[in-house]
Point group: C2
């Protein structure tokens, strides 16, 4: 592939993008599409009147301005913490790859281009390979330039990860949890335990043994199947947190406590899964994901075949004639493989979401986070590694047989594939943004419902939640490709940077206008981002090590090793410094919040709110398929109690909080603000 072919591919993509973006700027102004492009605004304003300008058939860039001008606080208010995290990923990527692009264009690109004594052609006719590190002579003294660029990229990435971003995210998370005092929000726990003892049975037993009336507001028929889990409400967030974190009984599978998700985040159909099943479900899902990954090799191998025309001509001899035409050739090698790959990849997120649901997450955000992990591993494996180790399935598996040769093998394979990755960024990246902003599937559904089924306006359902599980891995994959190829094939960086700029505008627009934030993981995507970035850095250093080895530059190899060790140490330090904050709320913040609530005098109001918050039927009017799952709303004079095993433990633990009274077997749960789910 030469520069001209790359420019053809870029041209096609730019044209597609310009057309789609213009089309979008017209479509969004049509009143009939308002529920496709302004789903969030509709949901928040409860009105279908949106200001629409008159010139509604003329393309305009106003949405870009609006997306650009929105501040981070507005994003936080509109999209929650997850949206802020997502925008931060883009900002981080833009910053890092701006630095990388400048350094690599000034320093690395000339070294690569003049790396070998040869005939220089007209630049458009130059093969892309002459811009990669493959063009540098063995033993060249100019490899220090690559090593220096690697140092600058790593250091700037680590610095950005640590100062504007990890610290920033921690601060945002702290502020956000402080923020929540303004709304009546809940710190909750969820317990699960042995499936033999039912919650209802215990409540009754407790009522009788201690001679108290147990008028729990149960919302369940006595005839129905008894439930193995429940939410329990605590007086304060801090109490709920401690109850959730402490091991309850000496059999860890009998009573399991955990912080409950926010009401809208609860994934009701998984609440009643017995705890004993969870570990086996997790293993089964893991096995299924790995199997899915391996099966997916078949389309990937086919796509890989397309980029190697000779192979294709051997397989389908009748194509030889067509493929000899220059334009067809360029389209087939430069554009078609990525499009096929993208289409196949569309099937992955729904499958992974299904796997994560089977896995047993009790919250929607946890399900999405788990799917995000799976999609991330999947894409990096199937897009990067499988494409790098070209050829058949068998030759890919033989890679495992030699671990120490891996850097050298990667060093050979990655620069050779840099061209493919550049076109992948053009096709998958740029085009996916255009598709994202167009919302093609919701648009088609809307047209179908509105003009074929002729549904009324109120019946049209346009509300979607942000697909973090597909978008986060996509951005991270591009970051991974960028770090890996930065010093090997610096020609990719400008395309990548353009992608991140457009993504920044597009996703901000989508957050502001389209997606509804029903639930929020509370910034749980950031650790994934952090770890993937550090992994990308380490991986790029490893490949650089291999390349420097192949090029017989002992100086550059020698300088890369301390960088590797330094990056590992940085990662260890960040794990110590930042990870606990993402895992659990700190006592300091929770106690502050509890205190403010106490002073605010709104405890009654909060309690009233709580009565309805964890009511499954009020949250999900359409679900009638899980009758056995209920939330228990404790009345003022009653409380959840415990099995014979737990009688002492659980009650005492709660009675710790009302210390002045003599230790008694009754629980006072009046005006409980927080929630503990008991699942047994």
């Amino acid at each position: 592939m030469d520069i001209a072919a790359l420019l053809t591919s870029a041209g096609i993509n730019i044209a597609v993008c310009v057309v789609l973006f213009s089309f979008y700027s017209v479509l969004r102004k049509q009143p009939s599409n308002v529920n496709v492009y302004f789903g969030r605004r509709l949901a928040s304003q409860h009105s279908r009147r949106i200001d629409l300008c008159l010139e509604r058939f003329v393309p305009s860039p106003s949405w870009i301005l609006k997306a650009w001008e929105t501040s981070e606080d507005e994003i936080l208010a509109i999209g929650g913490l997850d949206a802020v995290v997502f925008v931060r990923i883009l900002v981080f990527s833009i910053r890092v790859f701006s630095i990388a692009a400048v350094i690599c264009t000034i320093l690395v690109l000339p070294v690569n281009y003049h790396g070998m004594d040869r005939m220089y052609k007209n630049i458009p006719l130059e093969s892309l390979e002459v811009f990669t590190i493959e063009n540098v002579k063995e033993g060249s003294k100019w490899l220090w330039a690559h090593c220096l660029a690697l140092y600058i990229i790593t250091l700037s990435a680590c610095a950005l990860l640590y100062f504007d971003d990890a610290e920033h995210m921690c601060k945002v998370i702290r502020d956000a949890s402080m923020e929540r005092t303004c709304k009546p929000s809940f710190m909750q726990c969820c317990c699960s335990g042995a499936p033999t003892i039912s919650f209802k049975k215990i409540s009754t037993e407790m009522g009788s043994t201690h001679g108290r009336t147990c008028n729990t507001d149960l919302h369940l028929d006595t005839g129905k199947k008894e439930c193995s889990s429940a939410f329990v409400f605590f007086k304060s967030r801090y109490a709920a947190l401690t109850a959730a974190q402490v091991l309850q009984t000496s059999n860890p599978m009998l009573w399991v406590t955990d912080v409950a998700p926010e009401p809208h985040d609860v994934y009701w159909s998984n609440i009643c899964i017995p705890y004993r099943q969870l570990w086996i479900r997790r293993i089964a899902t893991l096995a299924a994901s790995v199997a899915f990954m391996l099966v997916f090799l078949i389309p990937v191998t086919f796509v890989q075949g397309l980029t190697q025309l000779e192979k294709l001509q051997k397989m389908f001899p009748f194509l030889t004639g067509i493929l000899k035409e220059k334009f067809v050739n360029q389209v087939v090698t430069g554009y078609l493989p990525s499009v096929i790959l993208v289409l196949f990849l569309c099937a992955v997120p729904p499958v992974m979401i299904l796997f994560s649901a089977v896995e047993g997450s009790i919250s929607r955000s946890a399900r999405k986070k788990s799917a995000c992990f799976k999609v991330l591993y999947f894409t990096i494996w199937n897009v990067f590694f499988v494409n790098v180790f070209t050829g058949s399935v068998i030759s890919q598996l033989s890679v495992f047989s030699s671990v120490t040769d891996l850097p050298a093998q990667l060093a050979k394979a990655v620069p050779a594939q840099a061209t493919f990755f550049t076109t992948y960024i053009l096709s998958s990246g740029w085009a996916s943004l255009a598709v994202e902003v167009m919302q093609i599937f919701p648009l088609l559904r809307n047209l179908f419902q509105r003009f074929i089924l002729r549904l009324k306006e109120d019946a049209l359902d346009g509300s979607l939640s942000f697909p973090y599980h597909t978008e986060v891995p996509r951005i991270l994959l591009f970051g991974f490709l960028g770090f890996t190829c930065a010093i090997l094939a610096p020609l990719m960086l400008p395309f990548l940077l353009v992608y991140f700029f457009i993504a920044y505008l597009v996703y901000r627009n989508q957050i502001i206008n389209v997606y509804i934030t029903k639930y929020d993981s509370g910034g749980q995507f950031w650790p994934i981002v952090h770890n993937t970035t550090v992994f990308s850095l380490l991986f790029s250093q490893l490949i650089a090590l291999g390349v420097f080895g192949l090029k017989r530059s002992s100086v550059a190899s020698g300088f890369t090793i301390p960088l590797l060790i330094g990056t590992l140490l940085f990662h260890q330090y960040c794990r110590q410094r930042f990870l606990p904050v993402f895992r659990s709320n700190s006592a300091q913040i929770l106690i502050d919040l509890d205190r403010r609530d106490g002073h605010s005098g709104r405890m009654e109001e909060i309690y009233e709110h709580l009565r309805s918050a964890y009511n499954q039927s009020s949250l999900m009017p359409h679900t009638t398929s899980q009758p056995e799952c209920v939330s228990l709303h404790e009345d003022k004079d009653s409380g959840p109690s415990s099995s014979e095993d737990m009688e002492t433990g659980n009650e005492n633990e709660i009675s710790q909080k009302d210390r002045p009274r003599p230790i008694q077997r009754t629980l006072s749960m009046s005006s409980d603000k927080s929630v503990l789910g008991v699942k047994q």
Copy 2:
């Protein structure tokens, strides 16, 4: 090596053992050795009068009877939970390897011996190789016998691990923590935090800002360096546990809380290590341990050379004459290598203890546990793997280059080394027990002090604590060898079984008579044992898979794979079911204990005890080198407070416990029973 050579080796070892054991039974009756052989009894009875029979120069087996008759409860009372765990390891090993020995002698040994059509010699002249799986023909239909034996061994090991042992250990741990109510014992926490703010400064500040007198009983001069850590006492064990487990501030490195070790378990010189250093210390120690492991390859390679006589004759041609003599030959190949290896291995535990101390453990038991891990990895690596991959350092490292070939390579190498491992068990195992019971170094030191230095009887110091960090890895290594070689070279099992029987008697004797239990890890060695055993099983299955592959028995290979998966699932289940109990006390138990203490009316007494318990000078009269480390004993009207950052958080968290009062900025810590160390 043939049967005769093996029997020579066994003969030498049996002779050595009989002589040493007889010698021991005489030496222990000598009054001058009483502080060597009865250190624990002396310490517990506070008297130097031990009943000594008159016939004190006649060997007698009475100590064996005594060791046999002691019950588990007595062991628990004498040696603590760790001693019980240690005895359980031996009981488990005896049971598993009894089953393995029976199965393998009946089923596997005849198959191996008759595996090939050949001339049968007189059995004593048969090479040991004909008893290993190497003697079985390729494609033999008798390999199902090995597969069946593997199934029986795995299933019995898992069943024993789960029912008589993991469950048993959990029960013992629960009972033991219940037991402790009888003694005034403590549930404690230790916090550490930023090194810039001193504990003393805070106490004063707190006193002044809230206008209260802060008469803390500090035990430290105002002029001395301020301390960055402290113990904090709580009213109840449950409160201390929650304070220890909850994340305190939004900067996880500012205030770090942890459960404090028991008073005698505190490792004072590490208490003041700033928390920020810990992660880098851990990494540095890891690197040092790995480096030490690799350096150790040199003596191991030398030892390996000794078992291959041809190599040795090439290296030292002048030895050829001597080595041709049959007896010398047998001693050199059968006995000398193991002795040299054992002598080199003696240097390992002290080095690992040093590493673990540098690592920053705040308790002696944690230091020992960490050293135990290191010694275990070290021994399994250096004794097993390096010996298996014979030859030079370079050929050993080349093993890493091919991961998928590993089972096949192991399958080739392990049976060939089974003979060496059998002699290793004879020399290192049997002889080490004789050395252990003789207590050679303390005996020599005692003789030197008593008859050369002529120290008085009171000045003789014979108290030692049990060296779990050397003995647990030793037992586990033999278990590992046993599982790995059971179906490959079943001739090893009888020797191993004898070893475990003698070990059972010897160690019980040592626990009863010799070692003093100054501190106890609370059964923390059991998870190590459990994990190592499961690893051994998995590893033996992997080797079996390789062997069956080499022998072209697809049926046996096919049946081994479900066994592998089943063992992995078993391990995962056990992690879910038992591991949390070893990591943390359950709320149920702690609350029960707190309640009993409350009812007992001995709170004042407990408080009095507490005042002195964490006093460094009273615990360690000889340490004057750590003046900056102090324990803070809070007076009734004062308490530990917090930096500006923590002011709100920490106080509130404690005021959670005295809920009835209005939320106030003062802490009531009267008659605190439990301890929280604050390190900042």
